[in-house]
């Protein structure tokens, strides 16, 4: 068995392929990131500590985990969060999307498109691509510092609202930086980017995202394939989980079928609501028509524009309000814990994320469930890897780069090693 590393994705994992002659017998994606048992770690903990613990599930998605954890707790206790705090949280989610998509699209995926081994090699020939990636990622980080108190494992979102407001100076600086970046990103992504030769081979079969009134990362029902609506509370009735050894990540199915979450599903479900430069780029790229899994990367590009535009807008709104800054005061609602269960869903950069907790009357956790986007995408990754391997195996001996690129297109929180077993 050959074991090779796929780099440029997060965590640890492996793709196992069984090949007999020119037939692919099976494909298995094993996420070997060891179990950290967060759902159990929180049992017996006070609700205040839960967001702090669960944000450590993933560093890139820590803001999403923190915010959704707080929202699930608020759902249980029936808390009504002040509007300013809701806006600040939204800002934080856009910040995270910029950081995450900036890193993934420009520094991890574009090297594939242009045929480089890593962004370091790409930067030698195409300094623009790399520096734009650092700019987008950088503004996302600075926003998370400003609004969340830290770029990773943010501090300010607390049950009831936000523990502190950002400095208005900081907000202004971000607004000034974000506006010109919109044009720069639009110009770069409108240029001809070499598309991948295998793009037509794999397409999305089922796509799932939250779809509220606007194109946003919170609110609304779960929307499947642009038609079927599932209330967030009914998630566990329609979607099923299981873990098979040796993979430590659970697989989630919609009924009996694999499905995809992430930027591409969001665009397919809600892209028609995009306006401005995000809408313009979307039209240009023809993502809605192609439905290729590989287009997830370009969908991230569209979302970078959407988030930048929203950031300028939200900061405009916030600057009109006299927010308490720093240590001087939080923006929180009054509430008291009750014995209840709460569920909330959010669109994290990599796709839908759901947290559910049950509390006793003092606010201590008695049970919890967390379903991550990578778990939701696993089965679909296996599905498309199989199609891809079968299509390529006949005339290529080295199918590894194509499969790695496919895995990276999903932007999973794992890094993979490929074992190819030839029988």
């Amino acid at each position: 068995m050959k074991k090779e590393l796929i780099s440029r994705v997060e965590g640890h994992g492996s793709i196992g392929l069984k090949i007999k002659g020119s037939r692919v017998e099976s494909v298995e994606l094993d996420i070997l990131t060891p179990p950290r048992l967060f759902e159990k770690l929180i049992v017996g903990r006070h609700f205040n500590d839960v967001p702090t613990i669960v944000s450590r599930i993933c560093s890139i998605c820590s803001a999403s985990h923190r915010v959704i954890s707080v929202m699930a707790i608020e759902d249980a206790f029936g808390v009504k969060v002040p509007r300013e705090a809701v806006l600040l949280r939204e800002l934080l989610l856009h910040a995270e999307t910029l950081e995450s998509h900036g890193l993934h699209l420009f520094l991890l995926a574009l090297p594939d498109y242009y045929g480089y081994g890593s962004f370091v090699d790409m930067a030698r020939d195409l300094p623009d691509a790399a520096s734009l990636g650092f700019k987008v990622k950088g503004i996302g980080n600075r926003m998370q510092e400003c609004v969340g108190g830290r770029a990773i494992h943010q501090i300010t979102p607390v049950v009831g609202g936000m523990s502190a407001g950002p400095s208005s100076e900081g907000l202004k600086r971000i607004q000034q930086e974000a506006a010109p970046l919109i044009d720069e990103v639009l110009r770069f992504l409108s240029k001809e980017i070499p598309t991948l030769q295998y793009t037509p081979l794999v397409g999305v079969s089922n796509w799932v995202s939250l779809a509220g009134r606007d194109y946003g990362y919170t609110g609304g029902d779960i929307l499947v394939n642009g038609k079927e609506k599932v209330p967030v509370r009914d998630f566990y009735q329609k979607f099923h989980e299981s873990a098979l050894p040796p993979s430590y990540t659970k697989h989630t199915l919609y009924g009996e079928e694999p499905f995809m979450v992430g930027a591409l599903p969001r665009i397919l479900n809600s892209g028609s609501k995009l306006k401005g430069s995000a809408g313009a780029l979307l039209k240009r790229l023809g993502i809605m028509k192609s439905r290729s899994t590989y287009m997830n990367n370009m969908a991230q590009g569209v979302e970078i524009l959407f988030s930048l535009e929203r950031v300028v807008e939200i900061i405009g709104d916030l600057l009109d309000i006299d927010l308490p800054e720093g240590q001087d005061g939080g923006i929180t609602a009054e509430f008291s814990p009750v014995a209840a269960t709460g569920t909330a869903a959010i669109e994290a950069p990599r796709g839908m994320l759901i947290h559910t907790y049950t509390f006793d009357e003092k606010g201590y956790v008695t049970g919890g469930d967390i379903t991550t986007p990578t778990a939701m995408n696993l089965s679909d990754m296996e599905r498309t890897l199989m199609i891809m391997a079968e299509a390529l195996i006949k005339d290529t001996t080295d199918i590894k780069p194509a499969l790695e690129t496919l895995v990276r297109a999903y932007d999973p929180c794992i890094s993979c090693s490929v074992h190819i077993v030839r029988l």
Binding site: S163, A243, Q327, G330
Partner: protein, 246 residues
């Protein structure tokens, strides 16, 4: 710029973790480019393929939960000059190092299909497996602090860590004390300084992710927590969020 082969080699490794400390290194942005002028990164699983060269300095994030990870560390230790634990998981086991006796049952509950088929041990700090030259705590680590430490290590000197409480940094920021004036259970008085009082500065009591400094007076703080109305169980849970393994 020096020639590539003369630069000291740096390796970044991730064990069981959220990858936050290595992500924080990529967040160095412009400083990262300066760092890349000084060192050659030979391994960074997240952003580039491995070069197969062994590093002089290894930064290791995450806790040890797998036999494979322990074996990897033993091999790495033989190759490198400095082995540095970065982040609280690598230093103490981190936020996940809880419930040592309950772990088997948890695995069975979370993965009923496979039960104990998973070989996954209680999260241990790197120093449980191999000697560590230096530890950089924090969940996540602080970029400035890391650069400061690397500056020393590149000159062959092991840096000192701040051995005083977070309250010192909090005071220097001019913050209002959350413990004294707002009755919030802040762990600042017993926690090692280094983060610049991030949490107290935005109105949240410190959770102690940097761990204890030497001679931290836990009893005295326990008494204050009782005075502000915390029960014994609440006090225990404050201390074992990050501060100690429980």
């Amino acid at each position: 710029m020096t020639k590539a082969k003369e630069k000291p080699r740096l390796g970044l490794y991730s064990l069981t973790s959220c990858s936050g400390d290595i992500l924080e290194i990529t967040n160095l942005e412009e400083d990262l480019l300066k760092l890349l002028d000084l060192v050659e990164v030979v391994d960074l699983n997240v952003a580039m393929p491995a070069t197969g060269m062994s590093p002089d300095i290894a930064l290791v994030e995450g806790a040890v939960t797998q036999a494979g990870e322990a074996g990897f560390l033993r091999g790495l230790r033989k190759k490198v000059k400095y082995l540095v634990a970065i982040g609280t998981c690598a230093c103490t086991g981190g936020v996940v190092a809880r419930g040592p006796k309950k772990r088997k049952g948890w695995l069975r509950d979370v993965y009923p299909e496979t039960g104990e088929g998973f070989i996954s041990g209680f999260p241990r700090p790197v120093s449980d497996v191999v000697p560590v030259d230096f530890s950089i705590p924090g969940c996540p680590i602080e970029k400035g602090y890391l650069m400061h430490c690397l500056g020393y290590l590149l000159r062959g000197v092991v840096p000192e860590v701040p051995n005083y409480p977070l309250c010192m940094e909090c005071k220097m920021k001019g913050n209002e004390c959350l413990l004294r004036y707002r009755g919030l259970p802040c762990l600042g008085p017993v926690t090692r300084a280094g983060c610049g009082a991030r949490q107290p500065s935005v109105g949240r009591p410190c959770d102690g992710c940097f761990g204890a400094y030497e001679d931290a007076n836990r009893e005295a703080l326990t008494e204050i927590f009782r005075q502000i109305g915390l029960g014994e169980d609440e006090i225990k849970k404050r201390f074992d969020l990050f501060w100690e393994r429980g």
